[in-house]
Amino acid sequence: MKEGETPRIGVYVCHCGLNIAGVLSVKSLAEYAGRLPNVVVSRDYKYMCSDPGQELIRQDIREHGLNRVVVAACSPFLHEETFRRVCASAGVNPYFYQMVNIREHAAWVHSHEKEKATRKAEDLIRAGVARAAKLEPVVRQRVPIHPAVLVVGGGIAGIQAALTLADAGKKVYLVEREPTIGGHMAQFDKTFPTLDCAACILTPKMTAVGNHPNITLWTYSDVVKVDGSVGHFTVTVRRRPRYVHEDLCIGCLLCIESCIYPDARVASEFDLGLGKRKPVYIPFPQAVPMKVVFDPETCIAVKTGKCTRPCVDVCGVEGAIDFEQKEEFPQIEVGTIILATGFKTFDPHRLPFYGYGRYPAVYTSLEVERLLNASGPTGGEVVLRNGKKPEAVGIVHCIGSRDENTNRYCSRVCCMYAMKIAHLIRERTGAEVYNFYIDIRAPGKGFEEFYDRVQEEGVHFIRGKVGDVTPETPDGKGRVVVSADDTLLGRARKIPLDMLVLAVGLEAQADANEVRRLFNITCSEEGFFVERHPKLAPVNTFTDGVFLAGCCQSPKDIPDSVAQAGAAAAEALALIDRGEMELSPNFAYVSAEECSGCKTCVPLCPYSAITLEPEHGKAVINQALCKGCGVCVAACPSGSIGQHLFEDAQIFDEIEALIQGVAANGEGAR
Amino acid sequence: MDVVVLMKMVPDAAQKIEVDAASGQLKASTLNLIPFESDEHALEEALLIKERTGATVTVVTTDLPGGDVALWTALAKGATHALLVTRGRPYEPRSTGELARIYAKLLETIPHDLVLTGAQAPDDVEGELGALLAAQLGLPYISVAVAVRPDEGTHSAEVTTELGGGLRSVYESALPLVVGIQTSETPPRYAPFLQIRAAQRSKRTRSVAVEPVPFDPKVEVVALHKPVAGKGATMLEGSPEEVAGRLVEILAEKELVGG
């Protein structure tokens, strides 16, 4: 419609089968709509969203010269886009479309009072028509997409996403906080349910990342700043000094051997304190990059400078070891970001009655993974802290999961990994293994079969969570006795155990909230990043161009993490290959002449989309970041912020039309 | 089947009771009146009969302080009716004989197959109330009962009483019948506080005015005093070991225990 053109509105009342027509009098609604101002044509039809329904609208646009379309049907979430496309295909600006929700708002909620529901639908249609008259044409903006991608986190999800993108020829920056990539998967010995060797399937991928020409790998680093928006993010990375120049170190590890400390004395982070390392170390033999790290807390050369530095003497590369190395803050340009920041395991100190940290017989499942790992502190032998081999082992499921006191959710992987641990312990020690569970959750491919197998192997399954752990001897150093209610037998069980394994759940990273702010996305109460739609946009976030992969979104197993990483990579690729992105028309804008530069709006914006332009100090809204929430519009004291699709005139006319109905119909309208 | 329970309010012995030197009466401020234990047992026995036979249980007491609470409690425990005997001002019969006459007069107006009362009371150690009442009404009387089993069909009751030395005797009597209860078959039940309050709010207690009955008591209370320590008592003091040692010596001296 051109400026000054009279609105010519078509109104379409959908039956939605019997969903609407079973309650509302659709014929009379269509007749009612036909009497409203500016309405040229008004019809009812069985399914407006069907092809014939859509064609009906197109035909009317052609024949009656409609320049506004109102469909009274379901929720705009369902079909707003459908009918906008119909308008566009018939040559009408798609934003000259107005949806009226008479299904949820009238038919469904008032199904027991049909007459009143029809009156209410009249009100809603009248308001929609009034608003339609004030609609304005909107043109969607486009932004170009920078082809490089940032992947944050080098666990299996980050590795998979990085390799997929790099293999497609895209430039990838992979940033990992730890000195090596590999994540939790690198700590495991076997993976369920196939019992693949974790190292055998993971390390080739890790090496591929390290060698890939399209991947820039920055370990021991973290992202500290993210500017810009989809298509053109500017990211600042902090590279912590490892006191070794990565480009010079050849990974011969002679420095470790020559360290002034002959014995490994520092608790190894990778082995969760069960093993020891030196102040200069690599986390594990297959680390990528194979570059040593000098731990500033324990290396006396870094800490005090007072060391004879045999490591420097033995190093064959001049200048590779550099105790003067400083933090660096390189900046990179990327168009899209994939977050694969992973999880941490639940800290069972929070449930002190399980005796973790109190009795040496109590372990977390992750500690046991290290004990089982061939390259772990015991070379894969299951040996207790007192040096003995366990004869009776208990594994308690759901530690820190399904628990209102800790985490309400099911961590999804614990049942399966607990069975894997049970199998491996039994295989290696012949111990009696008792799994204390509430429900066995084995819904994945090959999972139930694995459950069968472990049961057949003689692992005991007791349906009841351990409620009490007490030491057998008062000093607490020996066995522990666990009490459980065997709910299937209906009988209490008290079982002495050499080893009690707590199958700890998965939690969001401790700094998830800071990361969320950094990347301008949302996280749930539990700290997991929120996807845009749980079913239809599971790897997207509410911030365009930022995607999720792996356990940072929710607990999941390796196959799901890898699948999600692939999906995230595909989403990034889709954007890159399109080369540009259409922005949502629903964004706020500032009338510069009216803005006083008071900054009220700036801190209110949940998406950090508002800045002050330096020259005149007036607010500017970044279209690519704005999500159209309207907070700034409402807050602006001078009324200088407007919002497309939600202009004041549209809303006021809509409200006015509604109020007229209330005045006219009295109580009956409601 | 109509069971009537007569309850007597007596001073609570757990509290320190003092005698007023001037009047020679118990000091009212130190008195806390509660239903006597045997009467609580009489009520319990009645409630057991109610549970077994569906009888109506009417509880009666005089309107002494605490009488209303006793009736609410009885209702809370399951009594059907509760009557407060009054004559328009606090009512304190001065003797068991007078009380028996008052109750006899009251019972002329209410149905009764069984009249239960405590076998004794602190001011009626002879257990006269039941006997006098039975005499007034011309009914049979059995006392020191530990179980009452009425039979509606034969309109009679089997009453078990306790003799000394663990012996028991069983009587059968036609109804109506007055019984003095020693103990009920199970310990008196507890009335939850909420039920007592509900009974209070329900206003189910009824006041019944009974005209004073001319009665000339032949016995009068001359004096009240606390027991006086006799000369035979020796108070032992010291540590538990010393007291025990001294006790052994005394017992040996008096040849009460073998050397």
């Binding site: 009655f353 969570k465 409620g467 | -």
Partner: protein
């Protein structure tokens, strides 16, 4: 709220989320003696079969130790809501042992479960060598209102603890007073056995008394009163801060420490009362695990040892939820007494003194020591008695 309508309330609705994990039964110290242990009770309630539970008498064996509730992954309020409601139902059927009924009747009549005269409640004060102010005699503002409670007021062993407490307050220069014969049961046994009407009446009566006086905070002798103050009184608008005496003295430790001069050369273990630990829920902030241990370790010559069950895993003394008046019933049922289990653990830990800070416990554990014939092995002392002894005892005031 009653049992039939429990699901209409948010606190009751959580019952529907029970996943039958069995933690409650597994941790219940009386499970072996219950026909229906906690997990089955929830299942029975959900299945509409709760009357069978009421009739079974299983609930008489619950000692309100909070183990099940504190560990329940669904935060189902078993100890302070569901079980009291079920027991409340037992009053209708007459299945409550006479000993316990008498305790309730005594609380109704005399405001204490020992059946003692209200006028004798502060008789112990006469034996104190330090001044103890009774508010009725000397009203006026006071900093600390000391809620002495029933056992410390009437029981000879409790009175010894009360006297030691008074001496410590005096030494620390605390401005304190008691209610004397105006004090009544705070309502613990009533509230946890489901005699809610009595609890309600006691709270109303106590609040009426409190309103007569001007005090800034309340200190309770023991754990149970503290628990009732913390969980039930706020609902009646009582917001004055309340601390158990070990918490209060714990805060005064810097001032007390120089006075602790006499060596107490014993191996001491400490029994965590349920009502200062588990009952405070998941929030460890309000648990009093640390103060008594710090106090004991401040005593010269004393060696502290830990029992197998401690902190949130502590074994109940068996006195809560009416258990104090069910020992005869438990014996008739062939049950071992929890207090004896604790004493055995204390001896096994090598302790010759079992330190406590719960008003029921001195007498309970002393009974257990005698029954077990451990008189020569171990003695039971309140933490405050040990502190008082180290500070010179009665001779030093």
């Amino acid at each position: 709220m009653d049992l039939d309508h429990v699901l209409l309330y948010p606190e009751g609705k959580s019952l529907l989320t029970c996943i039958q994990c069995g933690v409650c039964s597994a941790t219940c110290p009386q499970e072996a003696f219950m026909e229906y242990p906690p997990r089955k009770i929830v299942a029975m309630l959900k299945a509409g079969l709760i009357d069978e539970v009421v009739q079974s008498g299983s609930m008489l064996k619950c000692v309100s130790c909070y183990s099940c509730q504190a560990k329940c992954p669904r935060q189902i309020r078993l100890t302070d809501l569901l079980f009291p409601l079920i027991r409340g139902r037992m009053f209708e059927g007459g299945g409550i042992p006479a000993e316990l009924q008498k305790a309730f009747l005594d609380v109704q009549r005399y405001g204490n479960p020992l059946g003692r005269s209200t006028s004798e409640r502060s008789d112990w004060v006469a034996r104190s060598k330090v001044p103890i102010r009774i508010l009725a005699d000397r009203p006026g503002p006071v900093d600390l209102l000391w809620n002495v409670e029933c056992y410390p007021s009437y029981h000879p062993r409790g009175q010894a603890v009360a006297l030691a407490t008074a001496r410590l307050f005096h030494r620390l220069g605390l401005d304190f007073a008691i209610l004397g014969s105006e004090e009544r049961c705070i309502g613990d046994c009533a509230g946890y056995f489901g005699e809610f009407g009595l609890l309600d009446a006691l709270i109303e009566q106590n609040l009426t008394t409190f309103r007569k006086y001007d005090f800034r905070r309340v200190v309770t002798s023991g754990a149970h009163a503290f628990n009732v103050f913390a969980h039930h009184y706020p609902g009646y608008g009582f917001t004055t801060p309340v601390e158990p005496v070990v918490g209060l003295i714990g805060e005064e430790l810097p001032k007390l420490r120089p006075m602790l001069k006499t060596s107490v050369p014993h191996k001491v273990t400490y029994h965590d009362p349920c009502c200062l630990g588990r009952c405070m829920g998941a929030s460890a902030l309000r648990c009093y695990f640390a103060p008594p241990r710090k106090l004991l370790e401040a005593i010269p010559g004393l060696k502290y040892v830990e029992m197998a069950h401690h902190h949130e895993n502590s074994l109940c003394c068996g006195g809560g939820g009416g258990g104090m008046w069910l020992d005869t019933y438990y014996r008739d049922q062939g049950m071992d007494r929890l207090s004896e289990r604790v004493v055995k653990e204390a001896v096994a830990a090598g302790a010759d003194v079992l330190a406590v800070t719960c008003d029921y416990e001195v007498s309970r554990f002393e009974d257990a020591v005698k029954v077990l014939g451990y008189d020569r092995k171990i003695v039971v002392r309140d933490v405050l008695e040990l502190l008082d002894e180290s500070a010179g005892g009665e001779a030093a005031v």
